[in-house]
Point group: C2
Chain length 340, copies 2
């Protein structure tokens, strides 16, 4: 197609997209979508509960199907496209990983908060032992500097991972954030680098392209942008844009468009778009788990919830720290009182 | 705010956004939105029929209000934010321009197909004579090379325009297309440069940021992305992204978010999002006026309409050439027959 560097697409419709359907993909959905991804020529299809294998819990939402059922169904529909799973250490176990391998999984992406790669070392080793392709998947990477990120990624590289992903989990990065990080990682690391974007600020495609120009080897996407909130990088326009740039992604645009239109679009329960809600979360750089509680507390304290979100972002809160909303609101109300 | 170069936002919710509401903005809509744009600190608010002043016709759709009513209403609601109109020579007349001036308009953007700036010379001269700020607004600029575009823009500059806009009218450009053009224009022209994007490929925000980094002075946007098809660059996330980049746009993000949410969102009749329809139009680089007819003819000839769109794009068709669809379909059917 051209002499430009090719890029591989990992489609995560059936994993990160699962959040948008409350993890209710049926076996028929998985078969149809996997067949479409195979025809669409993506490098890998990631399939599992939205929170990864072992993620089907009361806290994260029960999936319709067991990991085993999802993965054997997907494996039966895939041939050249590799089957991938996500695993969050603590949620997914070593045992889950073995089951995944038995079901035909070829790639595991071990997902950690950007500063906590050390929790992944045992999972990486086991995955390598049982013959999986292993990716270290760093979440919320907007929270630390490019240099810090590089440090943690070097550690991942020392564990023997095959490639490393940077996820903009809150959709909080602007193009220059992406460019600076990807350039540094490409310069200092030996393994291939991937990027996973969310579209909170409407930048998922733009950031992916800027990341490609900075040297990316892999890009994540989902059909129709299926994903939490404003969704992920949508596969169809991403491939269209790469085609226009004469970058070989190995993909068949029309097959992906058809699959998204026929089998993913009908499953969408809320419109996947940039809203004021997604925008403020991306602007502040925090997870959506903070959203409703902050609205409620803002009303109680007569504050603009946006001010709470921005303050939370400045404090670099992560999932699990939702209790801080009340402290912050109380403090802001006190500050207002003192100022008046 | 920072030492980075500032950028001015021209909001065209009440002009290009008008297409999405079939030109049915009421006086109340105009007042509320203009007040919100004033509070939001945008440089200018463009108000007129979607096809510009004089655009309210049977062919382009009748507006609810006359130009005079729209403009006097808007002028009454604006103070620091300038009132702008679009004028397409042939549709808008010299007389319309005088009316606009009487109503309090300060800026006219004279819109031409990218190769046809010569039709604008008289309008530019009159606009300058009556004391308007004049912008030459080049449409469908993906169709010609950066060098050709520069040539036509130099001509516009020689007419004495105050600034020049490049519009990606079909949402067909990728970031490198923008960067190459803006860098060249900034190097070779003396007047400020603006960019108007459509979101067909999900790149409106990304392209606007890349354009800023290449030197843009103005960026167009609409609240909630209101506009034809997949819409325009949405003002709210654009300003959020500029804030994150510490670029001063003079805007108040929350005021814009509130205005979009309260007064624009309720007017939206179709969801403003990237769809397979917007995608293929952006991919092929053609106007939406080709869409339905190509679908119908594709069915008649048993062709994939996407192949027709791409062929039309290769031929660089523009609005008014919709009759070519039939010729192309006939030819493609003949080619298929010969190949079988």
């Amino acid at each position: 197609m051209s002499t430009r560097k090719p890029v591989k697409i990992i489609d995560t419709t059936l994993r990160d997209g699962s959040h948008a359907v409350h993890h209710q993909f049926s076996a028929e959905d998985i078969t149809r979508i996997c067949k479409g991804l195979e025809a669409g020529g993506v490098y890998a299809a990631e399939v599992s509960h939205g929170a990864g294998i072992g993620g089907s819990t009361l806290q994260f939402g029960r999936a319709r199907l067991s990991d085993r059922d999802m993965l054997t169904t997907a494996a039966a529909a895939l041939k050249n496209t590799k089957l991938a799973v996500l695993l969050v250490p603590g949620l997914g176990t070593m045992e889950d990983l073995k089951v995944a391998k038995e079901c035909g999984v070829e790639i595991v992406r071990i997902a950690v908060h950007c500063t906590e790669i050390d929790v992944a070392i045992q999972h990486v080793k086991l995955a390598k032992e049982i013959g999986l392709e292993v990716c270290a998947f760093f979440m919320m990477t907007h929270m630390i500097s490019a240099d810090e990120l590089l440090g943690y990624m070097k550690e991942a590289e020392s564990y023997g991972v095959d490639y490393i992903y940077m996820a903009d989990s809150a959709g909080a990065m602007v193009p220059e954030d992406i460019a600076v990080r990807v350039k540094l990682l490409k310069k200092e690391l030996n393994v291939p680098i991937g990027l996973h974007c969310h579209n909170n600020l409407g930048l998922a495609i733009g950031n992916s392209v800027v990341g490609y120009e900075a040297g990316l080897d892999f890009i994540d996407a989902t059909l129709q942008g299926l994903g939490p909130g404003s969704g992920n990088t949508p596969t169809e326009p991403l491939v269209a844009v790469l085609n226009k740039m004469k970058v070989d992604s190995g993909c068949n645009l029309y097959a992906l468009m058809d699959t998204g239109d026929k089998y993913v679009k009908p499953l969408i329960q809320h419109t996947i778009q940039v809203t004021n809600q997604s925008l403020i979360l991306g602007y502040a750089g925090i997870y959506s788990s903070f959203y409703q509680k902050a609205l409620d507390i803002a009303e109680e304290y007569d504050l603009d919830p946006r001010d709470i979100f921005v303050r939370l972002g400045d404090l670099k809160v992560i999932g699990g720290q939702e209790d801080m909303i009340l402290d912050i609101a109380y403090k802001m109300a006190q500050e207002r009182k003192a100022a008046s």
